[in-house]
């Protein structure tokens, strides 16, 4: 086996439980994503812990290898919380054109990121996204 991966720990019950429970809780996580940020986070923790039981030795090795991205989850989550509140409290003020502009901004930024890999699609997305801004 790869020297980076430690030998796995023992598990307290048959592995089928740890196969089934994360699937159950992960689906709940996906459902609640559409309702409430707080529940989404709570139900995201459960499958993560189950995955750590079953795939712990692989999971920890991978966390170290992609440490920067993995730890970036925390600041991203904080930003997402603020954005969710902003969206919840102030979104109505923007009106229809403002909502379209936010969608356009996302598409344009995505195109900008994409441009490096796929110039044609990237430029198309940037152009399409910018069109959603009034006065352009």
């Amino acid at each position: 086996m790869n020297p980076l991966v430690p030998s796995p720990d023992t598990i307290p019950v048959l592995w089928g439980y740890f196969q089934f429970l994360p699937m159950l809780t992960f689906a709940l996580h996906l459902h609640l994503m559409n309702a409430l940020v707080a529940f989404t986070v709570n139900f995201g923790v459960a499958p993560l812990l189950f995955v750590q039981v079953l795939y712990g030795h692989l999971f920890y090795a991978s966390s170290i290898l992609m440490a920067v991205f993995w730890l970036a989850v925390i600041p991203l989550l904080i930003a997402a919380y603020y954005a969710a509140y902003l969206y919840g409290f102030r979104f109505g003020v923007l009106g229809r054109a403002g909502a379209a502009a936010i969608g356009g901004l996302f598409v344009a930024l995505f195109g900008r990121v994409r441009e490096r890999k796929d110039k044609e699609v990237g430029e198309l997305a940037t152009r399409l996204g910018s069109r959603a801004f009034p006065g352009r």
Binding site: P8, I11, M23, Y55
Partner: protein, 74 residues
């Protein structure tokens, strides 16, 4: 991924069911029938979760499978 195209019977059935349910969800959504859409979406998300599990197990198959773990009751 031949896993969903014949190599695994359960995987193939799940994949086909996923496509079928996606079509049904789109159909009920376009018809503006809320309750069937919600019910079908809940089922569809479970199907997708199971499909993820197949992908994960298949991807790790050459390296690791959960039945290699030793059970030690506490």
């Amino acid at each position: 991924m031949l896993l969903f195209m014949g190599r695994s019977a359960a995987g193939t059935v799940l994949f086909a069911a996923g496509i079928l349910f996606t079509a049904l969800v789109l159909l009920t959504a376009y018809k503006r029938r809320v309750l069937p859409t919600v019910v079908l979406t809940v089922v569809l998300v479970y199907l997708m979760t199971f499909l993820r599990d197949f992908v994960r197990t298949g991807y790790l198959a050459p390296v690791f499978s959960p039945d290699q773990l030793k059970v030690a009751p506490q």
